[in-house]
Subunit: 208 residues, 2 copies
DNA sequence: AATTGTGAACCTCTTCACAGCT
DNA sequence: AGCTGTGAAGAGGTTCACAATT
């Protein structure tokens, strides 16, 4: 299969969200120009992104909002529910358990792992906190496909190494370190400090 | 000034973190090859990124860890403390108040804003929750330079519009919407669902 | 001998511009 | 007439490869 840029995939997510919003407003048809304008892209970019996966519009008319939403959902694999494990039940971890957006997009946290004996056994929103030693067994039982890494930076690599051994191939990493994985494993980073530092750079360089 | 790619800036943040780690291990000198290897980049990339800002190494020897760390810190504007406001005191907001990494990188949350009267007046880690109506006054008093947006998606744009009116020019946005701003204002997005959807795409497309 | 700093080559992503449908 | 879909052109970012330096 042709390789698709990660920037294209991330824009598809944005289009998906936009189309859902339009659908809630009972708007039936939309042009690439409108989708672009809402999100600050160009219309050519929108059409090009979609063209990698097929021809979903009608020339002269635009796109059917619901149909395009569903097509993008299919591309992104959002038709199914994904079983997610949360690793690390500190501040970030606790916030993520309550983050509504995950559930609405079909990402269901099915298990929580932590090493702290005081936390093990706790139940939040019906989700049980397990000791990390049991992660492989629980991951298999719950058919976990994605792990969210919310452990301290110096533990992140070993946690991921261990979970790769349990067969988990996709990670959302909140720890501020680069995690090394084999080719067939994917890590996405959510690094809040890096974004803040980009703002710091901007404010420092771009004084009025 | 020459325009620098945002990817370069984000890698500089990574180098900065790497150099701090090396410094803690009392390592005095490092090569571009080593920095690259730790983070999964190429050595040419590391040298090119640095070259936009100056010549910090010694040919044949490499870079002095502490000196390079300080130079990158200077580039990113990390020499000073940044005063940050947190807008929205829900799940995400509460987690961010306790997020240690912000403080260690010099980003100090000085004020919290929320509309909920039950939350207004609350004090966390010595930080007071103010009503959003008072945001301009408090932002001025606390010399706020950066705002973290942790409000629901449908409120994010109006919150930012209002804060731009108070003179805040840099935003870290956790709401899953595209925020429109004038040229001289910068928004960085921290969109966890987009990253998860990229993992969903990967798992769907790249089956073994 | 080792490693930097950098122009040039290369590759990837974005935008243009227009033929082709509706 | 209006808007999509797309090859080609353009812009931007990354890697190469080597002269310069310690």
């Amino acid at each position: 299969m042709k390789k698709i840029a990660t920037s294209t995939i991330s824009r598809l997510s944005t289009y998906y969200r936009t189309l859902n919003t339009l659908l809630n407003k009972n708007i039936a048809t939309v042009s690439s120009e409108e989708i672009a304008h809402i999100n600050g892209f160009t219309s050519a970019q929108v059409r090009k992104d979609l063209s990698f996966f097929g021809a979903f519009g009608k020339r002269g008319l635009g796109y059917n909002v619901e149909k395009l939403r569903d097509e993008i959902g299919k591309i992104l694999g959002l038709g199914k529910k994904w079983n997610v494990a949360l690793v690390g039940f500190g501040n970030i971890g606790r916030a993520l358990v309550d983050y509504k957006e995950f559930k609405t997009q079909g990402f269901l946290i099915k298990a929580i792992f932590d090493n702290n004996p005081q936390k093990v056994g706790e139940v939040i929103n019906g989700i049980k906190v397990h000791h990390f030693d049991d992660s492989c067994k629980v991951a298999a039982d719950e058919k976990i496909e994605i792990a969210i890494i919310a452990v301290p930076a110096d533990k992140a690599q070993q946690v991921v190494d261990s979970l790769i051994g349990c067969g988990i191939k996709a990670y959302l990493n909140f720890a501020p370190v680069t995690i090394k994985t084999p080719e067939n494993v994917r890590v996405k980073n959510e690094n809040m400090s890096i974004e803040l530092e980009a703002l710091s750079y901007f404010l420092t360089r771009c004084k009025p």
